[in-house]
């Protein structure tokens, strides 16, 4: 390298010099966001062999078994349900199709733990308290909570697909089923894989729902070790195991996506939904609406009845006074988190795009927090921020731990992946020749970004913002641990009630979370519809 410098042409040097600030920026941003995760991972430098031995002899095999079982069942279930329903509402015309298409996204607004406690209590009567606490029911609940990730992405992929490819397949002698299996599905595979990867991360890091059903996953084990024995190191090592699993999953997803370059040239002819026969109409409606019923309608009805009960006993009256306060807190936290995640996501994705594979990897490192359970991120953030506080680096003597800034930082560490993924995917769709053209015409990168790229990815940005907002609104463990005084979100209220099994008292805030979550869900739907218009 040192030898080569002299030989390099002046233009290369100039280009390199110009890109240096970019490198500094990307590394700095990534380092700040990855710091809490790095603090956790650093613990493996001091291995605690005896704890591992004990864990291996006792709980670890069970944890791995439960985690893998849950992962496989929920990912496969979500993929089948999400993909199937996406195809159903894309390719077939039946009464109520449009409404069903929207309603299937609604479970996004329903936190897994709310879905969990509602179904736990509902099925406890008929099934008995013992059989209701099973890994299978837990998997079913998580599938209902997470399939919309696959559904959304698969639906967009199906809609953007060219009907011509299917027609060609048919003309070459494929049956409709074969055409779907061999043409339609493979072309949507990258999107489906991206959705499945999101589901996998959510399953790996869930700690609220699994505990309701007595399922002890690795994420649960991290908390067990940490908070039960106070052994931060051993817990962090266990968390590193999770991060490792997540890195493998991301790599697998990349592999699935990597080889696939399914571009569709020429004028696009989208799939036109065709009418189905009477029998299939009934079948489609029944399947689609059953999912909506299980994931949304029944839980909502149940929650509303609980609110009625709470009012009858006078419990709700006192609580409703607090509703405004909690709503504002939820909005505030979700709002700040969304803005921060999207700003950093755009910056990172934009910088990384110009810096090849190394840049991509650096940016990806910043998104690892998505693979770390919330409570672990929270404690990683406390450790990192407490160090900053101790050195007194913040002007004015303000402290980061327990501040809104600290909370938003932690939520960004956890959810940056969601916005980054969305922004990166949108940026990738901007044709490189358009940018090259603009550059040739003398536009500087900043101008290209503001005049060409940003306008083009506007819809994608909106969708990414909505996803982060939904996640931040539902988030519990980080908010619980790091919220500043005066900031009690709706999720915290739900926790307070459910930690004492006061389901009835949890109904008001749960409903409020769902109602509030419907706003970003609506934005998301609008963005997707718009996205479809733009591309067609």
């Amino acid at each position: 390298m040192t030898l080569g410098v002299n030989a390099e042409s002046s233009t290369t040097l100039r280009r390199r010099a110009r890109s240096l600030p970019g490198w500094v920026a990307i590394v700095a941003v990534a380092a700040v966001v990855a710091a809490p995760v790095a603090v956790i991972i650093a613990s493996i430098l001091e291995p605690t062999a005896e704890v591992w031995q004990e864990l291996w002899d006792t709980r670890l095999p069970g944890m791995i078994r439960d985690t893998v079982t849950l992962l496989v069942v929920v990912v496969v279930g979500s993929t089948i349900i999400g993909t199937g329903l996406a195809w159903l509402v894309t390719a077939y015309r039946f009464p109520g199709r449009r409404v069903l298409g929207w309603a299937l996204v609604a479970p996004l607004a329903m936190p897994g733990y709310v879905l969990g406690f509602v179904w736990l209590d509902t099925l406890q009567g008929p099934l008995g308290a013992r059989s209701v606490r099973s890994i299978w029911l837990c998997a079913a609940v998580l599938t209902m909570a997470f399939y919309p990730y696959v559904y959304l992405l698969a639906r967009a992929a199906f809609r953007d697909q060219s009907a011509a490819s299917i027609a060609v397949a048919r003309s070459l002698g494929c049956t409709p089923w074969q055409a779907w299996w061999r043409v339609t599905l493979p072309m949507a595979r990258p999107s489906i894989a991206a959705g499945a990867a999101l589901v996998a991360m959510e399953v790996l890091t869930d700690v609220g729902t699994v505990r309701l059903f007595n399922v002890s996953t690795i994420a649960d084990g991290v908390l067990r070790v940490w908070f039960g024995t106070g052994n931060r190191n051993a817990a962090a090592e266990l968390a590193t195991l999770l991060i490792g699993a997540a890195v493998l999953l991301i790599a697998a997803e990349r592999l699935l996506r990597g080889r696939a370059r399914y571009t569709q040239g020429g004028r696009r002819q989208t799939v036109v939904p065709r009418s189905s026969g009477f029998g299939s109409t009934i079948a489609a409606s029944v399947v689609g609406w059953s999912v909506v019923a299980i994931a949304v309608v029944v839980p909502l009805v149940r929650l509303i009845r609980w609110v009625g009960e709470a009012r009858a006993t006078g419990q709700a009256v006192a609580m409703e006074g607090d509703l405004g306060h909690h709503l504002v807190a939820s909005l505030q936290v979700a709002g700040f988190a969304t803005v921060t995640c999207v700003l950093i996501g755009v910056t990172l994705a934009w910088l990384a795009r110009r810096r090849g594979p190394v840049g991509q990897i650096v940016a990806r490192l910043a998104t690892l927090g998505y693979a770390v359970p919330g409570p672990v991120v929270a404690v990683g953030v406390v450790i990192a921020l407490a160090a900053v506080d101790r050195w007194g680096w913040v002007p004015g003597g303000a402290l980061l731990v327990g501040s809104m800034a600290g909370l938003i930082y932690a939520l960004t560490v956890r959810f940056l992946a969601v916005s980054y993924q969305g922004v990166e995917a949108s940026l990738a769709k901007v044709p490189p020749n358009v940018i090259a053209g603009a550059r040739t015409l003398g536009a500087r990168p900043w101008r290209v970004a503001t005049r060409i790229e940003l306008p083009l990815i506007r819809t994608g940005l909106l969708a990414a913002s909505a996803l982060v907002a939904i996640d931040a609104m539902k988030e519990l463990p980080i908010t619980l641990l790091l919220r500043p005084f005066g900031t009690d979100t709706l999720a915290v209220w739900v926790w307070r009630a459910t930690s004492e099994s006061f389901w009835v008292q949890a109904a008001v805030p749960s409903l409020a979370i769902v109602a509030l979550g419907m706003i970003p869900v609506a934005i998301l739907l609008w963005a997707l519809e718009r996205g479809a218009e733009v591309t067609t």
């Binding site: 039960g228 106070g230 809104m404 005066g486 006061f502």
Partner: protein, 389 residues
Amino acid sequence: MMHERSPHRRLTRIVAVTLALGTVAAACGGSDDDSTAATPAPTAAPTDDVEATGEIADEAPTTEAPAPTTEAPAPTTGAPAASGTVTVYIGRQYGIEPVFDSFTAATGIEVRFTSGGDPELRERLIAEGENTPADVVLTADAANAELAAGAGALAAIESDALTSAIPEELRSPDNMWFGLSRRARVVIYSTERVTEPPLTYAAVGDPQWQGRVCLRPSTHPYTQSLVASIIAAEGQERATEIVSSWVANDPLYINSDTDIYKAVAAGECDIAIANTYYLGRLQLEDPDFPVAIQFPEQDGRGAHVNISAGAVTANAPNPEAAKVLLEWLATDGQQEFVDANSEYPADPTVPTSDLVAAWGDFTADTGVIRQLGELNPTAVEVLSAAGYE
């Protein structure tokens, strides 16, 4: 839940409307002098009291509170050097707001609190170190207080009021934490299906209870402390045998004492191990709730008793107010604090509520309380080794 008194809350709402302002206010929320910083403008109503006591604080910097029981209700006469706001991390979730309201009414000291799981709050406190905003920690069990003390996060409290009100075995030897209420973890049984409930914790593992037992998962501190007490009394080996015999009865694990009571009532199980005060809540709703308490180990060491502990943090921004809060909870506020949740008083001279008294007198295993923290990791090990969920 984090609680600002109502004027603050109103203010927070106004502040929140302008999001930017909101960040500023909240960002200051963690700073040392945040009682005023968190809410940009001082609020009208409580300010007078605060300032009144504030002046007295200047006159008497670190009084050793000679007769604390009399000072609390009269903040203008010989009150300790305390004023402003006391910040509390609290691991108890039930019915604390009215108690804090009474405290503020009695002393003029505002209470801010943030609630969460005991272990999570402990880890936060340890990580915050010298910059913690917390003055007081109120835990739901002894082990977490002792673990926090072991990590250097607590300060010793010199208080005659506390040492005279709280019996020796309910506080740490070095005065790091004080038990403010006692909570008994007992055998409970269905009054409809069980006539002879187990008389010891070990008897819960008797094969006759195969498939009839409900227990709380090992993730919960209550379970860990119970097992720690068994280890202290009977040794690790025997404790492992006992826990294994519970596991052999294929217990139904339910992560909520309330739900455990309900499961016994509903016939999901016939016996269980749970804390008594949950029965208090259920009996308030339904006096004929078909579950009864059997205090175990009455011919021996006594029923397992844990405490709700109070402690002052090592780096408390307002240690004087912290001490006043703990003293008040141990003395003038003791009855209200304990009755708010149907617990047993820490101060033996304070009577139990009628509801609680109806469950009967019992021998309590209080000697072990100081050891619960130290034995906690061993208890977690025993639970794991026995395959307890």
